[in-house]
């Protein structure tokens, strides 16, 4: 059972990592702690994630970046003994407030995982899934949204003649783009991507990266990646996590060309052991 420690008012930034770089802030995180039982895995995370930009979270395994990204749409709620404190506000409203509609939150904040997870249904039904759950029955409306979502996910031309074929017959890279289309169908504002290309070959990876680049015009994207060159290629900002803390959060160029923290430098140059 999850216990949430709720903060009635968002607190002012206290951490040095709180950085606002004069952009529209979409997600504002303040003093966010996360615990699995007695173990504290995130310590005082404070950062402002800008709207319609790509923010990459990098750091060694176990540094808390996946826990953090899953906290944004409260995916961690399903983990027993997990609890959070501090605030994660989307458009100024704390998602951990007691009256948050978690289903609606997850519609606004879509998620794509490391391993693509299409349902054992047709390509069409996969993309239509969230819409039907939302009550949409109009075939024409569904058709339109499905075409638009698959087009945005750069998959339409590859599947338009076999929409009724099983999603499981698609290649790994196509399945991942299908999952992105499925997330886009319900018209989210934020896309969380937890290592979306780590299981893909270089060509499929580059398609996903191109797609991320295209999508940021309309969506706020947060991506966890172990591939630092990928973070450098696709993101506008990068946060370096280490032992549950944000060591440095800055423009991606600064992180990869002239990081301020020695620890960041050691990590991005591969000196870190």
């Amino acid at each position: 059972m999850i216990t949430l420690v709720l903060e009635p008012e968002p607190k002012a930034a206290t951490s040095q990592a709180a950085t606002s770089m004069n952009d529209d802030t979409k997600i504002s995180v303040r003093d966010f702690d996360f615990f699995y039982g007695a173990a504290k895995v995130l310590h005082g995370i404070s950062l402002d994630i800008p709207a319609r930009k790509v923010t990459a979270l990098i750091g060694p395994s176990g540094c808390g970046k996946s826990t953090f990204i899953r906290s944004i749409n409260r995916m961690n709620d399903i983990i027993p003994e997990a609890r959070a404190s501090g605030t994660i506000a989307i458009d100024g409203r704390d998602v951990y407030r007691g009256d948050t509609d978690v289903v609606e939150l997850r519609r606004r904040v879509g998620m794509v995982f490391q391993k693509s997870n299409p349902f054992p249904k047709s390509i069409y039904d996969n993309v239509a899934y969230g819409l039907r759950i939302g009550g949409m029955r109009n075939k024409r409306q569904l058709d339109d949204i499905i075409e638009r979502s698959l087009t945005r996910a750069a998959l339409w031309h590859e599947v338009k003649d076999r929409l009724q074929a099983s999603a499981l017959a698609l290649s790994g890279g196509q399945q991942q783009r299908l999952c992105i289309a499925r997330a886009l169908a319900v018209d989210p504002e934020i896309l969380l991507m937890d290592e979306p290309a780590s299981a893909l070959d270089p060509i499929a990876t580059s398609k996903i990266e191109e797609l991320i680049y295209e999508l940021k015009d309309n969506y706020t994207i947060v991506i966890v990646t172990h591939n630092m060159q990928q973070a450098a290629r696709v993101s506008d900002r990068t946060a370096f996590f280490m032992l549950g803390r944000v060591v440095e959060y800055a423009e991606t160029n600064a992180i990869f060309m002239n990081p301020k923290e020695k620890m960041t430098e050691d990590y991005v140059t591969g000196r870190f052991g």
């Binding site: 060309m257 990081p259 052991g273």
Partner: protein, 225 residues
Amino acid sequence: MTVPRHFDKDIEELNHLLLRMGAMVEDAMARSIRALLERDTVLANEVIARDDEIDRMEIVIDQKTIELIAKMQPTANDLRFVATIMKITPELERIADLAQDVCERAIELNREPMLKPVSDLPRLAHDAQAMVRDALDAFVRGDAALARKVIAQDDNVDALTESSFRNLLTYMLEDARNISSAIRLTFIGKYFERMADGATNICEMVVYLVEGKMIKHTALAAADE
């Protein structure tokens, strides 16, 4: 905790190559000054003959640098180091070319009667030489303060070039037979000034390497911010 990387060996090797090239360039510059001041044609010819070695060195460093970028995709201080090497190497090669030019003019001067001593020119040559030496020291030690000091000396070298030119101009006005030598010496003054410019460019890259700041084309005041 930092771990050793095989990339560090590549970086070390590149550093070593650049320092070898730097030593060769310093040597060429020192010999060109001696050949000029001592009217030593044999020495001047030696400098000219050795320039190919420096050119070959430049190619070796370029290839090694491009290889490192392709294979290692350097970031942060590694990236700044590789970028610095790429920008410094052609500066060094150019300084060596200018030393060669000094020697060519020196050989031509030796075929003509000696002009009255021009006091500014040896000073100019030695100041430019000191700047190149200090620029290389700043690179080796990663010393941005020394690099900035070298950059500040460039104005002094420019002033010496100008005064040496005025001096030579009076000789030309005095006696038309001086014109040929005086023009060659004017060229030589310009060569040393350009070597000092090369040292300045190297130092700007040293500041970038150490601090990540691009101070090129900005006033020193801005660089000191």
